[in-house]
């Protein structure tokens, strides 16, 4: 059984609506908000990995860079958020286009290494260019400003913003997957040579996918800085990129629910379990090892196969 069409959307909406009522306090709702912001980041990365077969280790660039852009313009240039937000998203997307040109010179491991190197360059700049970024101290926003006159300062109101953004991201990426472009993108993953021979422009398809991923990553980046009211070099760091990759692989690359599930699990382990267990990084590693050994394609496809009628397809 697969969750398709209306059932998927009904369940997803129900889950997002029920969450604020089900969680005991604002503290937990805050953690849920963190998880959903990262879910958008993971979804954006999955356009590259699950659909395009391009594994990136530098996706935190599109979280951290727009976060810095929004924070800096609002704090140091006194821009209103209505201006800072589109600017930050445009900047993140433009940088993704530039980095796409650089990264798409290679495939596979080479692609991974270039994205990793570009990510490290951005991290190094944020860390060392103290005059612009505040270095290790980062940039702090004292209070969450209202956007378009709407007060989003409370935990609950900001949760609604993030939940809506996640729904919009899911709808757009769902459409992308079913579209001719989505089919072409998956084609370049499986058979780039054949796609070329069929008359497709493989490089441009990959480029566009990369920019899409950068765009949705930048949305996550803006939400991230409004969520934490703080941005530091760690948002651009390799561990942040690796975490996003882990979310995708854990939940299941190439599925719509997988990256969301992965983001929730990792955020819960990181924030909730870490207050009870000291070695939570080991726990994260252990979870990952168990999941990929039992369900190599990730939790969501793995569980689907588990519950599927045994006669068909389930290995």
């Amino acid at each position: 059984m697969t969750l398709r069409g209306s059932r998927f959307w009904a369940l997803m909406s129900l889950f997002l609506i029920a969450l604020p009522f089900a969680l005991p306090s604002d503290y937990y709702l805050g953690i849920a908000t963190h998880a959903l912001v990262l879910a958008i980041l993971a979804l954006s990365l999955d356009i590259l990995i699950g659909q395009g077969g391009m594994t990136s280790l530098g996706h935190a660039v599109y979280l951290g860079l727009p976060a810095y852009a929004a924070a800096w313009t609002m704090q140091n240039a006194n821009w209103p958020p209505e201006l800072a937000i589109p600017f930050a998203i445009a900047m993140g997307t433009a940088v993704s286009a530039l980095f796409a040109v650089l990264s798409l010179r290679a495939r596979g491991l080479g692609f991974l290494m270039i994205t990793l190197a570009l990510g490290q360059v951005m991290w190094g700049a944020a860390y060392r260019w103290v005059g612009l970024t505040g270095g290790d101290n980062g940039i702090r926003i004292p209070v969450r400003p209202p956007v378009l006159g709407i007060d989003i300062s409370s935990v609950r109101s900001f949760y609604v913003v993030v939940a809506l953004a996640l729904m919009v991201a899911l709808v757009c990426i769902w459409h992308l997957e079913r579209s001719p472009f989505g089919a072409c993108l998956r084609g370049t993953k499986d058979q780039p040579k054949r796609m070329n021979m069929l008359g497709h422009d493989v490089w441009s398809i990959r480029f566009l996918a990369f920019v899409f991923a950068g765009f949705w990553g930048s949305i996550a980046g803006v939400l991230y800085v409004f969520d934490y009211l703080y941005v530091s070099p760690s948002s651009l760091s390799l561990p942040q990129s690796a975490e996003a990759l882990l979310m995708v692989v854990l939940g299941g690359a190439g599925t719509l629910t997988g990256p969301v599930v992965g983001a929730i699990i990792i955020t819960v382990i990181k924030t909730v379990v870490s207050s009870y267990v000291d070695r939570w990084y080991s726990l994260l590693g252990l979870t990952f090892i168990i999941v990929v050994s039992v369900m190599p394609r990730g939790l969501v496809p793995g569980l689907k196969a588990w519950f599927a009628p045994k006669e068909g397809g389930a290995r």
Partner: protein, 247 residues
């Protein structure tokens, strides 16, 4: 306007010390069925790769209906009417047969940039994909995934994808490779029914089928053309025996 459908004019290609293609000239008339034969490593597929644009020849020219295409990217050659199948199956295994053909149609017709509309809702394209599948006897299997089809069916899907593009010149790289006797007969009949407005250049080792199919035969060895002629001429020529038996 040249009166050749495909003209390969004195092309050469070296890979380091290996001369993969040596001064090969090939002139194929519109509607002709041309067979390329030669032992393994003779440079047949390498020649296909250059016609398709996978890599460029070091020297010489390639023309399609008189139009220069030696240095054009593959996608432009496809738009000019060139299609190709592969010896090693090159399909999209996780998708349905219908979508495999749809990718072929998107390649020639465009429309692949649409990010919002559903591919399945492109009814006209889906119908034409189904027609292309029906033409190779896979009409009932259109909704199945490639992973659930037999090897013989996949061979026919390869053919359906190329034919759906309505090519003017079709390159077939061993369309019968690995097929059973029954399946070979099915594919042979399909090839025979391809209309004569499609020019075909075929690499094939199954001589029974290939020789009957071909109008003209070109024998390659060590990257160069050894001889060219009708079936009777090539069979009778002692150099054919020499190349194959190496006596």
């Amino acid at each position: 306007m040249s009166h050749f459908a495909l003209e390969v004019d004195d092309i050469s290609k070296r890979f380091g010390g290996l001369a993969a293609t040596r001064n090969v000239t090939l002139r194929v008339k519109p509607g002709e069925r041309r067979l390329l034969i030669g032992p393994n490593g003779a440079g047949k597929t390498t020649l296909f790769n250059q016609i398709a644009g996978d890599f460029l020849p070091d020297s010489g020219a390639i023309r399609l209906f008189g139009q220069e295409m030696t240095r054009l990217p593959t996608k432009k050659r496809v738009r000019m009417g060139l299609s190709r199948t592969y010896q090693i199956l090159t399909l999209f295994p996780n998708d349905t047969l219908r979508h495999n053909v749809a990718l072929a149609l998107l390649g020639t017709e465009g429309g692949g940039w649409s990010c919002w509309s559903s591919l399945a809702a492109k009814r006209d394209m889906m119908a034409r994909a189904d027609d292309a599948l029906a033409a190779v006897g896979l009409g009932d299997a259109a909704g199945r995934e490639v992973a659930q089809t037999s090897y013989g069916e996949r061979r026919r899907l390869e053919l359906a994808m190329a034919l759906a593009q309505k090519p003017k010149v079709l390159l077939l790289d061993e369309p019968l490779a690995g097929l059973s006797a029954d399946e070979r007969e099915t594919v042979r009949a399909l090839l025979e029914h391809i209309p004569r407005d499609v020019t075909i250049v075929m690499i094939e080792h199954d001589m029974d089928v290939a020789l009957a199919f071909a109008d003209q035969i070109t024998l390659l060895n060590f990257g160069q053309v050894v001889l060219e002629g009708t079936r009777a001429e090539v069979i009778a020529d002692p150099r054919t025996r020499e190349v194959y038996l190496g006596h």
